[in-house]
């Protein structure tokens, strides 16, 4: 009965007490958020706690029964009661087992669900953060936060939470029972508790920065490893394997050192907590013995008292462990929330427009763009309507690609505005805007999946018929016919089994399948041979009918047919007009044209000509 009362008070006090353990407010806030996420699963959390409570009450009953058995046997000189009570103990333990199982199992499910939820949130957040975030961050580091850090938080939901309830309850329960048995002895045995709690707080405070270091080291290891794997061709080509090993060594060492820091604290933890607890027990044993000798206590009572104290061993052992779980979860939680709280530079307005249909008129109105004061585009204005083709040419790094990154709002303009169908792109909902734009970017990123999946990337579940039509337009059909598996052929990660030109054509097919209103081709055929390029251009010309098309290219030939050509230099439009006019006026365009015509000039221009240019 005493146990029941103790529980009621501990139920509200338990987690709260734990939450108070970290020192500063930020940690508290992190813990609070993690716990709220855990408790979002109300039924599970309730089930886990309820079953735990039942099993804990039953735990407290057993020592009393042992005491009764020994005392009864001695008092009556009859073994009957011991046998009966023995049977009761077995029955209670088996009954308790069912609750213990559910308590452990439900806690595991709770923690797995919670981390599953957090992993998903992180994934979605990382996917949706704007390009400027991805420009800054490293894949390896983000992976480590989504895996390793989430794993550290997992223990909080399950073990951390349950343990703190168990510890609080066990301590309160046992102490109440002890008080009931012999209050003087009980007070005596409690002397070590404040010390234990103080040590736990100091311990948690000390180990927290060590955990932060470990997680940071994981991020560094992941980053070096990931880049090494992605850049394996370069590493091999330059025979820099030894340097790569040299790069890995310090991060590996750092991870080891921070790991050693943590395990040394662990090595101290267990003996420390147990030692303090054992001291308390020794004191009780001694004082209790004296009490028996003085006739204030029966031997059976002392034995039971001792048995209850033994019950305290478990929560005290757990205390150190649980404190680490909390410290660790806080350290990792901080890293997780850093990502989750990161707001994207590109935000959708709450009253954003969901257009029924996007026609595709694009207007740049005195657009400016820069990264941190570094001006990349200035005063860019143009307008293009469905059915028209805009060509953009310019030198390497002149800002051509930036123009097209602004249209689908991968970045937001820093000055001026971009209008689609007369509406500022920032007033649209992002998804329909981007869905209306098909991009073939200069770098073809393919996934380690089948050709079908790669082509249908923007339209998962597209019919084979539609995929084949897109593939055909991208001049992929001949290639597809040579593959025994056809569309099911795996392309290998980052398309390693395809040639550069094949990859680009897969990327073209991928964009075409979207059936976009606005088509952007950014150096999309740089790795395609001239013959294929021509065929491709013929096919694309059909597809461009009625759509708005932006072509970015180094090759004059690719933009020569455009309705308007913009010539970029250092982020500004220096020339604009049609091909026929531009080649007549002196300037960058004519220079480029002459260079390229010369380069492609018929035989005889010979080997020397390019050198002279």
């Amino acid at each position: 009965m005493m146990g029941g009362g103790a529980m009621a008070s501990a139920r509200t006090g338990g987690p709260g007490q734990m939450a108070r353990m970290p020192k500063n407010k930020k940690d508290l806030a992190i813990l609070g958020r993690l716990l709220r996420m855990t408790f979002a699963n109300r039924k599970l959390a309730f089930g886990a706690i309820a079953t735990l409570l039942v099993s804990l009450v039953l735990d407290l009953v057993v020592p009393r029964l042992i005491q009764a058995a020994i005392d009864g046997t001695m008092a009556r000189d009859d073994v009957g009661i011991a046998i009966v009570l023995g049977a009761v103990i077995v029955a209670i333990t088996a009954f308790k087992g069912v609750f213990t199982f559910y308590a452990t199992y439900l806690a595991e499910v709770l923690s797995q669900r919670t981390t599953f939820h957090i992993r998903g949130l992180l994934f979605e957040r990382i996917q949706s953060l704007s390009f400027s975030f991805h420009d800054e961050s490293r894949t390896g580091e983000l992976m480590s936060r989504t895996t390793s850090d989430v794993d550290r938080v997992r223990f909080l939901a399950g073990m951390g939470l349950m343990n703190s309830i168990r510890i609080t309850l066990m301590i309160v329960g046992v102490v109440s029972l002890l008080m009931f048995t012999n209050w003087r002895l009980a007070l005596f045995s409690l002397a070590s508790l404040p010390i234990l709690i103080y040590v736990a707080l100091v311990f948690s405070h000390r180990i927290r920065p060590l955990f932060v270091k470990v997680q940071q080291s994981w991020g560094a290891v992941n980053t070096v490893l990931q880049e090494n794997l992605m850049g394996v061709r370069v590493v091999r080509a330059f025979a820099r394997e030894d340097d790569e090993i040299g790069k890995f060594e310090p991060v590996n060492q750092e991870l080891t050192d921070s790991g050693v820091g943590v395990v040394r604290m662990f090595a101290l933890r267990q003996p420390l907590f147990e030692g303090i607890a054992a001291m308390g027990m020794a004191a009780v044993l001694w004082y209790g013995g004296v009490q028996v000798l003085d006739g204030h206590l029966t031997i059976g009572e002392l034995v039971a008292f001792n048995a209850y104290l033994l019950l305290l061993r478990m929560p005290i052992q757990m205390l150190g462990f649980t404190v680490s779980i909390f410290a660790r979860a806080t350290a990792s939680g901080d890293r997780i929330f850093e990502i989750l709280d990161r707001s994207s530079d590109v935000q959708e307005r709450p009253d954003a427009i969901e257009p029924d249909h996007i026609e595709g008129t694009v207007k740049f109105d005195r657009v400016e763009f820069g990264y941190e004061g570094d001006e990349v585009l200035s005063d860019v204005s143009f307008e293009i309507r469905p059915g028209e083709v805009l060509g953009i040419v310019g030198g390497t790094g002149s800002g051509k690609s930036t123009v097209i990154n602004l249209l689908p709002r991968f970045y937001d303009v820093t000055g001026g505005r971009i209008l689609v169908d007369g509406i500022d792109v920032r007033d649209f909902k992002i998804a329909p805007l981007r869905s209306a734009i098909g991009i073939v970017s200069q770098e073809t990123f393919l996934f380690g999946a089948s050709l079908r999946e790669n082509i249908a990337y923007g339209r998962p579940g597209a019919t084979d018929d539609r995929i084949m039509r897109a593939a055909k337009a991208a001049q992929l059909d001949d290639f597809l016919r040579t593959l025994p598996e056809g569309l099911d052929a795996e392309v290998g990660e980052r398309g390693v089994t395809l040639s550069g030109g094949q990859k680009q054509r897969v990327a073209i097919a991928r964009a075409l399948l979207l059936d976009p209103r606005i088509l952007i081709l950014d150096e999309s055929t740089s790795s395609v041979d001239t013959e294929t390029e021509r065929a491709l251009r013929d096919a694309l010309a059909d597809l461009m009918q009625g759509r708005t098309t932006l072509i970015i290219s180094q090759r004059i030939a690719s933009v020569a047919g455009a309705d308007e050509i913009l010539v970029f230099e250092s982020g500004e439009i220096v020339q604009r007009g049609r091909h026929g006019d531009l080649i007549l006026e002196p300037g960058l365009y004519r220079d480029m044209y002459e260079l390229q015509v010369e380069a492609a000039a018929p035989v005889g221009a010979g080997r020397q000509s390019t050198g002279d240019a």
Binding site: G120, V496, Q502, T610
Partner: protein
């Protein structure tokens, strides 16, 4: 055993068959993992001794209790009681100190072992050839180096020694129970066979469950890796929701595997508890009988109960360790799979360092197949040192494969490749590649400064040399215009510099390496024509005395070559210099025609 109501988990059926055949294999993995401890055997044994002493101190507890009750309290002797209490304090401090020292040594050793394993894996990854990397997902490999090593962490740092201690404790208690009261002990041991059966049942299930966890975590890594590096594409194609739902599937499978493992473990503890309660009941009943008949003292009975509760602790512990072992074995299997992977391309035992070369390259009847698919067939050509050879042909014809073979990223399936008369297979890969410079199709930028990236192939290069290399490829100007010039930090994703600029950095990287053989695989496809001309100009100077392989679609680049090979369908179909090939009026002439007609007719419209 209420847990059975849940029915078999998702993985039980699928992986069940591997359980038995895996046992002998596990023994091998176990031996190899333990082998990592061998160089640190001294430390390990020292810690074992400390921990054993600590265990003995702890195990003295129940006996001291018995003495205090029987000889102190029971006999009314305060001195004995005081002494027993003092002894208890002393043993506690002793246990405390020895345990701290023991664990401190042990866990430190454990961390070092983990470091060694990670380093071994990383070194192995530097040895493996490209074929391996085209088969394996980056994320899967990463998970073997990070997550799987983490999974053997507990086993190596604590598991092994804890197991040893548990066995020791078990043996001690076993003996102590027998010596305390022979009859009681035998009566209690009746439950042991049941205990063994239950333990076996659960460990089999745990093993299956942990395999499931290991197998699914790799997929989580792989999925993350691709989608984080491909996040830009996901946004461009509005794929965020679809990707999230696929990740959710992978993540959910991982969660379910974990829950399944958790369920098995959750069921085990109550089972052990119940069995130990039966033992306790036996002690109470039979012990009570003995007590009533004065055949045993209360102190002995209390000590017996004390020992007995501790008897089941190590058993529970051992089972927990067994689970840990299962998890470690599953992870170890994946780690050793990586460590045992044989590189396709290896230095032969008699390989020599390639001396400084002139750059005569001879392909003699070279064929190459990739996963049973013939990519190159009977390719033969001869490139005199210092000359430039251009490879021309439609995409997918096999041009990149030819230069990959020359770099010995792969070995040919037939025929031979020699450089200055040395068969590539007879020289060390390093000495060969150190004399080659490659600008690959995909320009890869490492996290680090522009300086670091250009100096990648020759970290010892001076600032001047680096700037000269950048200048030679026309990259100097844009680099100086970056916020921090050469010190500007770049990221693998390449962020703020354009693709063309990245190509230039990679180009400078190859130039700086001052190679005898330079390979340009569409090195300037995204570079503007003006810069391209500058590069062509610079190349004339740079290529003097070097052999160059050039893959390009731009005729300006090709026309400068001494020899042009036209590749189609993995064969050389035409060869000669530009003028000869044009006069031939074959495939090259067609490609050339396609290239030249573009500019003049383009004015008529995009469909020209």
């Amino acid at each position: 055993m209420g847990m059975m109501a849940f029915g078999p988990g998702g993985f039980g059926g699928r992986m069940g068959s591997t359980v038995d055949e895996g046992r002998s294999y596990d023994a091998r993995i176990f031996r190899r993992l333990v082998g990592y401890l061998r160089p640190r055997a001294f430390h390990v044994w020292t810690s074992v001794i400390f921990l054993l002493v600590s265990a003995v101190f702890t195990l003295l507890g129940p006996d001291l209790l018995r003495v205090a009750i029987d000889d102190g309290v029971g006999a009314g002797d305060r001195t004995v009681l005081n002494l027993a209490a003092l002894a208890f304090v002393a043993t506690t401090i002793g246990a405390w100190a020895t345990s701290y020292v023991g664990f401190r040594i042990l866990t430190t050793v454990g961390q070092q072992v983990l470091k060694t394993i990670r380093a071994d894996e990383f070194n192995q990854l530097q040895r493996l050839s490209l074929r391996f990397f085209s088969r394996q997902e980056t994320g899967q490999i990463m998970s073997r180096v990070t997550n799987d090593v983490d999974a053997i962490n507990e086993f190596l740092t604590a598991g092994l020694v804890m197991a040893l201690l548990s066995v020791f404790t078990l043996a001690y208690i076993f003996v102590r129970l027998l010596t305390l009261d022979f009859r009681l002990a035998l009566a209690t041991f009746v439950v042991l066979p049941v205990m063994i059966l239950v333990t076996r049942y659960f460990s089999t299930r745990a093993r299956v469950a942990f395999r499931g966890v290991r197998a699914t975590v790799g997929n989580v890594y792989a999925n993350l890796q691709e989608n984080i590096s491909g996040a830009r594409l996901a946004q461009a194609f509005v794929r965020e929701r679809e990707n999230a739902s696929r990740f959710e599937d992978t993540s959910r499978r991982y969660m379910q595997a974990n829950i399944e493992a958790g369920r098995v473990i959750a069921a085990f503890l109550p089972a052990v508890d119940t069995i130990s309660a039966v033992a306790l009941a036996i002690v109470l009943g039979f012990g009570g009988y003995l007590l009533v008949n004065d055949m045993v003292t209360v102190g002995v009975l209390v000590a017996f109960i004390g020992f007995m509760t501790r008897f089941f602790q190590p058993i529970t512990q051992l089972t927990r360790l067994y689970n840990m072992l299962q998890s470690a074995m599953a992870a170890g299997e994946r780690i050793f799979e990586l460590l045992d992977e044989r590189p396709d391309v290896v230095d032969s035992a008699s390989a020599v360092d390639l001396p400084p070369i002139k750059g005569n390259v001879v392909f003699d009847g070279v064929s190459f197949a990739y996963e049973d698919e013939e990519v190159l067939t009977d390719v033969s050509f001869d490139v005199p040192g210092g000359s430039t050879i251009a490879l021309v042909g439609p995409t997918g014809a096999g041009k990149t494969t030819i230069v990959s073979l020359l770099s010995r990223f792969y070995d040919p399936t037939a025929g031979s490749i020699t450089v200055d008369g040395f068969d590539l297979r007879s020289v060390t890969q390093k000495s060969l590649r150190r004399q080659m410079g490659i600008v690959p199709q995909d320009s890869f930028i490492f996290s680090g400064s522009v300086l670091d990236n250009i100096a990648y192939g020759r970290p010892e290069a001076s600032r001047r040399e680096i700037e000269d290399a950048a200048g030679a490829v026309g990259a100097h100007d844009f680099i100086t215009r970056l916020p921090d010039g050469y010190e500007s930090e770049l990221r693998e994703g390449g962020s703020r510099i354009s693709v063309g600029q990245r190509q230039l950095i990679c180009f400078a990287r190859a130039i700086l390496a001052s190679p005898r053989i330079l390979i340009l695989d569409e090195a300037t496809s995204s570079v503007d024509a003006h810069t391209e001309v500058l590069i062509q100009d610079a190349l004339k100077r740079l290529l003097a005395g070097r052999t160059a392989f050039v893959i390009a679609h731009r005729l300006s680049t090709i026309r400068n070559a001494d020899q042009v090979l036209v590749i189609d369908g993995g064969r050389i179909i035409e060869r000669g210099d530009h003028d000869e090939l044009l006069a031939l009026g074959g495939r090259y002439a067609e490609l050339y025609e396609a290239g030249t007609t573009l500019a003049p007719t383009g004015a008529n419209g995009p469909s020209a």
